[in-house]
Amino acid sequence: MKQVTITAEPISTARALEPLEHLGGGAIASFTGIARADSGVVALELEHYPGMTEKNLNALADEAMARWSLLGCVVIHRVGKIAVGEQVVVIATAAGHRAEALDACAFLIDRLKTDAAFWKKEHLSDGSALWVEAKGTDDTRAEKWRD
C-alpha cells in the first residue's frame, strides 16, 4: 500500500495513519513536520514543480518500500500558504517489525528534504518574505542513506 499526496489543503497525521493501521504489521512509524514560529515567521509558503515533485516522492516511497519490505507507506506534503503551527509534511510507514518502520520513516523525511522539488518561503510579521536556504546538514543526513 503506497500513498503519495501533494495538497494545498490542511493535512493530518491522524488521517495519514489510518490506512496503515490494519495491514497486519506490528509496527507503524510517523514523522510530522510543522511550520515553526522562528524569529518573526508567521507563515510558510511552499512551492513545488507539478509532475516532477510527485515523481520524486513516488521514487522515494518505492525505494523505501523495497529496501525495508514495508507493508505500507504514506507521504503527504502540503503546498501553498501554511500558517505557523500547521502541518507541512507527514510521513508514515508500516512494517512487520519496528526497525524497518522507524528506519524507513527517517529515510523518507531525510531524503525528501534533499531530493523532492519543493521550495520554502518564510513570511515574516513585518510583511517581508524570504526564501529558505538549503542546509548542508540536510545533505549530510540524506547522504548516510546512500550505500
Binding site: M52, I109, W131
Partner: protein, 83 residues
Amino acid sequence: MRFVYFARVREAVGVDSEERDLPAEVHTVQGCIAWLESCDPRYAVAFAEPARLRFALDQQMVAADAALAGHDELAIFPPVTGG
C-alpha cells in the same frame, strides 16, 4: 525549448515559464544559461550564483553539462528546501 523557473529564480526572471527557440550553437544546460544571460540582464541576476542553481530536463535532475538533445523542458531552480 520550454523553460520553467521556481522560487528565487522564478521571481528574478519574472515569469513561471516561457517557450524559446534556441540558437543552433546551444547544446547544453550550461549553454542555455549563458545564452539567456546574454538575452536580458534579469537572467544574469537570476543565475548570478551558479553553485546555487539546479537543473532538470523533462523533470529529471541533470548536471550543468547535460545535453539538451531530445528534451522539451528545462527547469532552473535553487536547491530544494521542502519538508
